[in-house]
Symmetry: C2
Subunit: 320 residues, 2 copies
């Protein structure tokens, strides 16, 4: 990083205004305790950790009521409430706590898609899947967020993977309120449990992210690079009976094998009754991620199938 | 097992009537999915698995409403509702679902402490702690249950530990409805997640337990042995602030170290703000178990401190 750029790279450089309003959010899901405790205890009570020369970040609990109860949400998944449609609907007095909170956050941090929106949101999540340290970005066209993800991957002492939401998907997540954003998704951790190792990794990465933004604001140029990432192709659901109940669970050979390629004939599910294996049938290999995430049972997802894609990410610098 | 007994051992032999009413229960906690699915899918739908020559076991979901919702309980922890006091209280129309269900189970499987109670309950549990395969017995004086635990430990292909509730503690668990009982407690598994490896281990152990009871019923004598077990000494709570909120979490060095001895000066907690270690202060070593179990946060338990104790367990045979 910071290497001298070639003329060609300079021509393709993207520039952005300095990032002054930077937000770290935890507790978007109230049972993902590393984020809840990192915001409440590790950041709010240590304001110096959030200070850099060019800005001071703010730490916020996204879903205070669910976080207080250590439950995922009160009425509905907050992290699906941030579509333009939902935010603009005339439901200011909605009976759903999360829909009301989404509008409140849109008022505080948005409005989504506007010039008034905050510059950057880093949203903190954990998963029951063996995802290790994963950085989620929404679009390969958000060069600044992709550069931030790349920076974290380079400086982290832990192996990191970058996951990309499928391009063109309408954004619905809390972080999409900001102009630029990423999610730290770390696992495996049971929901409702705070693991120190995950808390420490999360805190380290937040610190590095704030460093990245500070360097960017001060004029450091981040060169173009080819970003290898896991891009979502499609979801796989569990085998279910006519009542929607699972008839099989993740196969022991697939369990904990997030990011590893799955080939035709590899077992993916184990039937409860016969204990027989149900295998992956497609010819085209796929990399499963979020395997056996607890909150996905009710969403009809056993895992996401992804493919490794490479995108050219343009170099970036601050505009003056 | 089945070795010829010495005269002295025969004199100390305990004898029991054949066990004909044998119950396997899952979903006492509705979010511990291995037990829920093993009962609903692996046992109820495979009745031949429950059949032995001398009896046919019955599989029951203990808390159907919580299991349906994949939540721990609806109103209160069912597994604390089986004290004599609670069962005999005049709260037949209690507003608590679990208190009503406890009375219903007492009617079906008890009455607790009576001759009409079922002979054996095996209750299936999972934990977010790294407990491996653990068999919990209530008292070293219940020779039959201790012999069953020993049998499972011997035949299991996985390492097993035996945990003993402190003698003299009033029994409050669901399984205490039966004349004899034990819990299979397997982890780590997040609550709300079914892991095939744990499901398979649980099913294997249930099969072995039914074999043990069948052998006992048929007259096999089980010789006396010295039972090494982890007996609960006292609970350790998290450091908390004046509002009861955690100010520290389990230290990375203690996390996942269930059953390993803890010595004076070993770190047990990591403070959120300063990240400093809080150490074990007592001179007397202790073995922590159920470290960082999700459902214990609200019960004021970070882990249980246990000591390894050895008890002489008398030989047993069926009475004719």
């Amino acid at each position: 990083m910071g290497d001298k750029l070639t003329k060609q790279q300079e021509e393709h450089m993207a520039s952005f205004a300095p990032l002054s309003r930077v937000i770290v959010t935890g507790g978007t899901h109230g049972d993902e305790l590393a984020g809840v405790y990192l915001v409440q205890k590790g950041l709010v009570k240590q304001p110096e950790f959030l200070q850099r020369e060019t800005f001071t970040a703010q730490a916020i609990v996204a879903n205070p009521e669910a976080s207080r109860k250590s439950c995922r949400f009160v009425d509905t998944d907050l992290n699906r409430c941030f579509t333009f449609e939902s935010l603009s609907s005339s439901t200011a007095n909605s009976s759903s706590y999360e829909i009301r909170r989404a509008k409140e956050l849109n008022h505080l941090l948005g409005p989504k898609g506007s010039n008034e929106a905050v510059d950057f949101i880093c949203d903190l999540h954990t998963t029951t899947a063996n995802m290790g340290t994963c950085i989620i970005v929404d679009s390969e066209k958000d060069y600044l967020s992709c550069q931030a993800a790349h920076y974290l991957k380079e400086v982290s002492t832990h192996p990191c993977q970058i996951m990309l939401i499928k391009s063109g998907t309408p954004t619905f997540s809390m972080m999409s309120l900001a102009k630029h954003y990423l999610t730290l998704e770390i696992g495996p951790a049971p929901h409702g449990v705070i693991r120190a190792d995950i808390y420490n990794t999360m805190k380290m990465l937040v610190g590095h992210l704030l460093d990245f933004i500070d360097r960017f604001n001060k004029g450091q140029e981040f060169p173009a690079f080819n970003m290898d990432c896991f891009q979502i192709e499609r979801k796989f659901d569990y085998p279910r009976d006519e009542d929607g109940q699972l008839t099989a669970c993740i196969h022991p050979k697939l369990q904990d094998s997030d990011f590893k390629p799955l080939f035709q004939g590899d077992p993916i599910f184990q039937s409860f009754v016969s204990e027989e294996s149900i295998c992956y049938e497609a010819q085209d290999p796929i990399c499963p991620i979020f395997i056996n995430e607890a909150s996905y049972y009710s969403k009809g997802i056993a895992f996401w199938g992804t493919k490794i894609q490479t995108f050219e990410i343009t170099s970036i610098k601050v505009s003056i």
